[in-house]
């Protein structure tokens, strides 16, 4: 039987006692998927719930294994690489240290394994800055570093929380290319985004989150073609 990457069943999550995620059901197949929605709809909290960073109820199965109740490091070790909103690189570590201190052989086959050298091949700018500290880079470079740091865990699923936030269009073009390269190696990717154009360029299917619940699942084109629906869910069109 075909096994889905991530299965969320009636997931509720709380942030500072606020009930943010209110019964999310979601089935994530392999490939690149996105969750879109306006600000404050609970997208980031849902990401944190998957990573075990907020208190969570319900069931989240990752390749069939329950991960609710596990600690973040255990969830990461099961093969989820997290690129958080705002990047959260370490001011006290150099670029090179970011790409080595947490590296693991993870779940990649030998020839597809991500090492710091392969990350430098993907992002040559990082190599030029390898001895600088994590937060002294430009916004685009910091995003590359946060992605690289997740890749060297060699995960089975990459979670990216608003990767395009605050980046110049040329950097976004680069990111689109990068996701194209990564997905060719069978990496599964879940992106939370507000930028629909970016999503359209990188994802196969999308989910819209409204008030802590998934209100639409399908293709982004379908959503775009339905003016009434996109106005209702996203406030656009």
């Amino acid at each position: 039987m075909h096994e889905s990457v991530l299965t969320l069943n009636n997931v509720e999550a709380y942030y500072d006692k606020l009930h943010i995620v209110q019964g999310v059901n979601l089935l994530l197949d392999s490939g690149v998927t996105s969750i879109i929605g306006r600000n404050g709809m609970g997208k980031s909290t849902l990401m944190k719930a998957i990573m075990g960073l907020v208190s969570t109820k319900g069931s989240i199965k990752f390749f069939g294994q329950e991960i609710v109740g596990l600690k973040p490091y255990q969830i990461a070790q099961k093969g989820i690489g997290y690129v958080p909103q705002g990047r959260r690189n370490f001011p006290s570590l150099t670029v090179d240290e970011h790409l080595t201190f947490c590296a693991s052989s993870g779940f990649s086959s030998e020839e597809n394994r991500w090492s710091s050298d392969r990350v430098y091949d993907l992002f040559p700018r990082l190599y030029e800055r390898k001895d600088l500290y994590g937060t002294s880079l430009s916004g685009g470079e910091q995003q590359m570093l946060a992605i690289g740091r997740a890749l060297v865990l060699n995960p089975r699923l990459l979670l990216l929380d608003e990767p395009s936030e605050g980046l110049a269009p040329t950097i976004i073009d680069q990111l689109v290319d990068v996701f194209e390269k990564i997905r060719k190696e069978n990496m599964n990717i879940l992106i939370v985004e507000q930028d629909l154009n970016f999503c359209e360029r990188v994802t196969d299917s999308t989910n819209v989150m409204v008030n802590g619940q998934i209100a639409f699942s399908g293709s982004l084109r379908e959503l775009r073609n339905n003016a009434e629906l996109s106005r209702k869910l996203l406030g656009i069109g």
């Binding site: 600690k71 490091y73 070790q77 959260r88 006290s92 570590l93 947490c102 693991s104």
Partner: protein, 289 residues
């Protein structure tokens, strides 16, 4: 001239003691976001355990020093496993638990020393003085400084050159993020807290040799260690070393020249730092969590 030189040396060696006491506290505070209010009483308990070993071993000072370190390391290890890890993410609970622990440790120390002030005065080189020109100075103070410098170098090498050191640095910056990268940060907490126990055990015997110790000194040592980490910045070892030096020198000279207001001056300095640079004088950047 000799007088000022003595004050300078006193300040520097006192700074050495403050650093050995505060370095563990700042790592624990930086990494676990927990202010261990039992640190001062762990210092006194370390001295008391050392005193017991010193008596049993017929005044073997080195045994007392290392024994106190090892015993306090075990105490810290158990304390973290049994109690402190319950306060993870809850600073107020951490403060309340550790205040309770500090009372228990102080009572234990009173039991071990009968509540009397004690001073280690070993025979041989540790208890003797040396002559430098016109200056006569005790070796014990110099030994404290040597231990402090050796410890500083050791910690810096661990922090800069080892994987564990990289994890600790990253953990001080953003411990949830470290955990999200597949690293069991609580195991690192346990190791760092045990190491901090070892250091404070050493410090107890060093301080009890350099000056003396008594069970009512726990509070003031707690306060001094907190001052060092406030001035130095949370989790910064270089910061703790420089802050210890500043406070040590300030204390040494003001106690000699303006003894009535020495404490006021030292505290005013710390408060000025709190107002002008609350993240500490030697911290690069603070991440809000």
């Amino acid at each position: 001239m000799i007088y000022n030189l003595t004050l300078l040396l006193n300040g520097i060696t006192y700074a050495g003691l403050l650093f050995v006491v505060a370095s563990g506290l700042t790592l624990v505070f930086g990494l676990m976001r927990m202010v261990n209010m039992a640190h001062g009483s762990m210092y006194i308990l370390g001295a008391s355990v050392g005193w017991l070993l010193y008596k049993i071993s017929n005044h073997n000072w080195v045994l007392a020093l290392l024994g106190a370190g090892v015993v306090m390391m075990l105490v810290a290890f158990l304390l973290q496993l049994a109690l402190y890890n319950k306060a993870y993410g809850n600073p107020i609970l951490g403060i309340m638990i550790s205040i309770g622990v500090s009372w228990i440790f102080t009572d234990l120390s009173i039991e071990l020393t009968r509540g009397e002030a004690k001073a280690f005065s070993p025979e041989g080189i540790v208890g003797s003085t040396f002559q430098l020109g016109e200056l006569t100075y005790p070796y014990s103070r110099l030994i404290v400084l040597v231990v402090a410098i050796a410890e500083l170098i050791l910690i810096l090498i661990i922090l800069k050159k080892t994987k564990v050191g990289q994890i600790i640095r990253a953990g001080v910056d953003d411990r949830d993020m470290v955990s999200s990268l597949g690293i069991n940060i609580e195991l690192i907490f346990l190791g760092v807290f045990a190491f901090s126990g070892f250091l404070v055990g050493l410090a107890g015997v060093l301080g009890g040799t350099m000056v003396s110790f008594s069970t009512d000194g726990a509070g003031s040592m707690q306060m001094l260690a907190l001052m060092v980490i406030i001035v130095g910045g949370r989790g910064s070892i270089e910061g703790a070393a420089l802050a210890a030096l500043m406070i040590g020198l300030l204390d040494s000279f003001t106690s000699a020249y303006v003894p009535n207001i020495s404490t006021i001056i030292v505290f005013s300095f710390v408060m000025a730092v709190l107002v002008l640079k609350p993240q500490g004088l030697f911290v690069k950047e603070v991440r809000k969590q």
